[in-house]
């Protein structure tokens, strides 16, 4: 799917964006990707509700943070590039990296054509070796352990590639999060890692305030001498600039940086909690669009048109996906091992 751009956007007044901290072209690009990611998630939810998938979990509400992150990733395969150890709210990062939305829909429909798992895994459980995206697991926080390994490899390799790991706030109760802080900050062996927690203040149905006494998660990073920042993850510009600063630091200094991004969870935890829009939480896309409109970077009409175009394209590809075959049951032993198959071979 190509990026949908309204041709009329080039006729902006010269003063457009004067009060904003990022260039208008970049803001438009971010907005476009935010809309794409949001429409993608809404389409996935719709597919679930129409029984075109067994389960939905995703990240609507995290776009203001995740799209800037996706834009700043050094994408590629191998240690010259960034490694990503993501959790299941990262569709915005993947679509910004260039993932075709149809592929996310294929995973939701668990078709044989699902390029991430061949119909084996839940929606938003991505994996793409060509972009150093390690397989996403449903296990909470284990990605913080696996990220240590690519962090070590990046440290030894040198260059500017870094390891990026993200997860939610509830999972920080697992010891694996502490492990990541410890291993990434060993004296003399600090690792070039961007450690992110997107804090939506919920763990499924349990409020963080009922389980966590720490004032902020960054306090835990501070204890290990890790540079850190709390970011309003609903603010595009703040997120972009904080990520840019952190990633520049890591790429240059080869040391860890921790970001706690405070975000919204707009459709609840997953389909297990209904996946209905929660209107009480701030919608970063609404906030951002109001800014863009006020700064005369985009008009309401233009933004509506972009969303309408993405809606139409997502609908079209979802209909295509519905026609695609499911994996054959005879393939269950495929890829248990690299280069080998068979029950007991």
């Amino acid at each position: 799917m190509k990026e949908i751009v309204n041709e009329g956007l080039r006729l902006r007044p010269k003063s457009a964006g004067a009060k904003l901290r990022l260039e208008p072209e970049l803001l438009i690009k971010i907005h476009n990707n935010m809309v794409k990611a949001r429409v993608l998630e809404e389409r996935l939810i719709r597919m679930y509700k129409q029984s075109d998938g067994y389960f939905w979990i995703g990240g609507p509400g995290e776009e203001a943070f995740n799209i800037p992150l996706g834009l700043l990733v050094k994408k590629g395969q191998g240690l010259d590039y960034d490694f990503l150890h993501l959790h299941y709210r990262s569709a915005g990062i993947m679509s910004t990296l260039g993932m075709e939305p149809i592929d996310a829909l294929r995973q939701m429909k668990n078709t044989a054509t699902d390029p991430f798992s061949g119909g084996r895994n839940f929606s938003n459980h991505f994996s793409k070796r060509a972009w150093n995206v390690a397989p996403v697991a449903s296990t909470i926080e284990t990605q913080y352990l696996i990220a240590i390994g690519s962090g070590i490899a990046h440290k030894r390799h040198g260059g500017s590639g870094i390891t990026i790991v993200n997860g939610g706030d509830a999972g920080t109760a697992e010891g694996d999060f502490a492990s990541c802080l410890i291993w990434s900050s060993r004296p003399g062996n600090e690792l070039p890692m961007l450690i992110i927690v997107t804090n939506n203040q919920w763990g499924i149905s349990t409020a963080a305030s009922t389980q966590h006494g720490e004032k902020s998660i960054t306090d835990r990073a501070k204890a290990f001498g890790i540079k850190n920042a709390i970011v309003n993850g609903n603010d595009v510009e703040e997120s972009y600039l904080a990520l840019q600063e952190a990633m520049n630091y890591i790429r240059k200094e080869r040391k860890p940086f921790f970001i706690e991004s405070r975000v919204s969870r707009l459709y609840g935890h997953s389909s297990a909690t209904g996946c209905n829009l929660i209107t009480e939480e701030e919608d970063s896309l609404v906030t951002f669009e109001a800014k863009l409109e006020a700064a005369q970077i985009l008009t309401r009409k233009e933004m509506d048109q972009i969303r309408e175009n993405y809606n139409a394209e997502m609908l079209e590809v979802s209909q295509k996906v519905k026609q695609e075959p499911l994996p054959d049951g005879s393939t269950i032993y495929d890829h248990v091992y690299t280069g080998q198959k068979g029950k007991y071979w």
């Binding site: 798992s117 061949g118 070796r129 397989p135 352990l145 696996i146 240590i148 390994g149 492990s179 091992y337």
Partner: protein, 356 residues
């Protein structure tokens, strides 16, 4: 005449100099100790990690995904249990990505009883590990195989689990590892002086590795018949294997001809070797020291019954560890908890004598 642990050390040295191993790590794996059983002394890529088993396995997975081959050690398998979901994840990276990712990595950990290790240094892990798909699992019973199996693990593109029978760590081999000094008392002393770190200050010590070490590989999935016989098949691995061979030698004097198979690789196991032997003898005893309920030997019995039922002349048997929470420290407790020479000998007698 290398010990089993010296064989592992030499194989790891070969791995880091010839097979691309970049990290050998775990708790006390690096200098000055070089592992609590000395398996990693003198290795140039060895280093100490935080005391964090989940971190160790996670780091190994991440290194493997990054294309950086490593060997991670869990100091005793008794402490690997809190990493079970990490081992599950390691075993599914290739499968869950539908073949997109490979995960070359090796985990090694000492297992089993035999050193009076009490409750938390005597556990076995083969029953649990063989429940986790996606791994290849080995357990040597002698130094030559210890070397060759490690080389095989280090060349495999999949996660490999190397179980070290701790009771056999100091046992010397009867077969020469290619490149090691001669199998004489002088050769034994020479090897010790070359690669064993001295007691006391080791800060200036450097090993002198045998120059003739080679790519000697014991192919994964290939067992070995260590005693030939035609009346009963005994299948074992690790600590109990040499005891089974000893029992077979004793029983030969009683006229019982036992064939003893060293499985060497638990997954994938050498079913051809097992089944051919059972077809010949009609009787089989599986022996290992992990707890007997949902034991790996039970799987082998199930397959024996399903595929070889009409070749059997007696009920297939499993002799394994008692189903108790741990191995008690006192000598009588340990001896009663795991198969020993007397119980193995008696079990072979019983199966051999059972009337069809």
């Amino acid at each position: 005449m290398a010990t089993l642990v010296q064989a592992i050390r030499m194989a790891l040295h070969y791995g880091e100099t010839h097979l691309g191993v970049k990290d050998i790590f775990g708790e006390d794996v690096g200098p000055p100790l070089g592992g609590v059983f000395t398996a990693t002394q003198g290795l140039k890529t060895s280093w100490n990690s935080p005391l964090d088993e989940r971190g160790i396995i996670g780091a190994a997975i991440g290194l493997g995904l990054s294309g950086s081959r490593c060997v991670a050690e869990i100091q005793f398998c008794d402490y690997i249990y809190n990493t079970i979901d990490m081992l599950k994840l390691g075993g599914m990276q290739c499968w869950s990505s539908n073949g997109d990712w490979s995960l070359p990595m090796t985990v090694m950990t000492p297992v089993g009883s035999g050193i009076r290790g009490s409750i938390y240094h005597s556990h076995s892990f083969d029953a649990t590990m063989t429940h986790i798909p996606g791994w290849k699992i080995v357990m040597p019973s002698n130094p030559l195989d210890a070397y060759g199996l490690m080389i095989a693990c280090l060349k495999d593109p999949n996660p490999t689990m190397y179980l070290k029978p701790k009771a056999l760590m100091r046992v010397r081999g009867q077969e020469q590892i290619p490149g090691e000094p001669p199998l004489t008392p002088e050769g034994e002393k020479q090897l010790k002086e070359m690669i064993d770190a001295p007691l006391g200050d080791r800060s200036q010590w450097k090993p002198k590795w045998p120059e003739g070490l080679v790519d000697y590989t014991v192919e994964l999935g290939v067992g070995k018949t260590v005693r030939e016989g035609d009346q009963i098949t005994v299948v074992s691995y690790g600590r109990t294997l040499p005891i089974c061979a000893q029992a077979a030698d004793l029983l030969r004097e009683e006229g019982i001809s036992a064939e003893v198979i060293d499985l060497r690789t638990l997954w994938p196991y050498d079913w051809n070797l097992i089944s051919e032997s059972i077809r010949k003898t009609g009787r089989v005893l599986f022996v290992n020291e992990d707890t007997e309920v949902t034991n790996f030997g039970e799987h082998l019995i199930r397959r024996t019954v399903e595929e070889l039922f009409y070749h059997l002349e007696a009920r297939p048997r499993l002799l394994a560890g008692a189903f108790v929470p741990g191995v008690g420290l006192a000598d009588p407790l340990e001896m009663a908890s795991t198969p020993q020479l007397a119980s193995i000998t008696e079990a072979i007698r019983e199966v051999s004598a059972e009337r069809a």
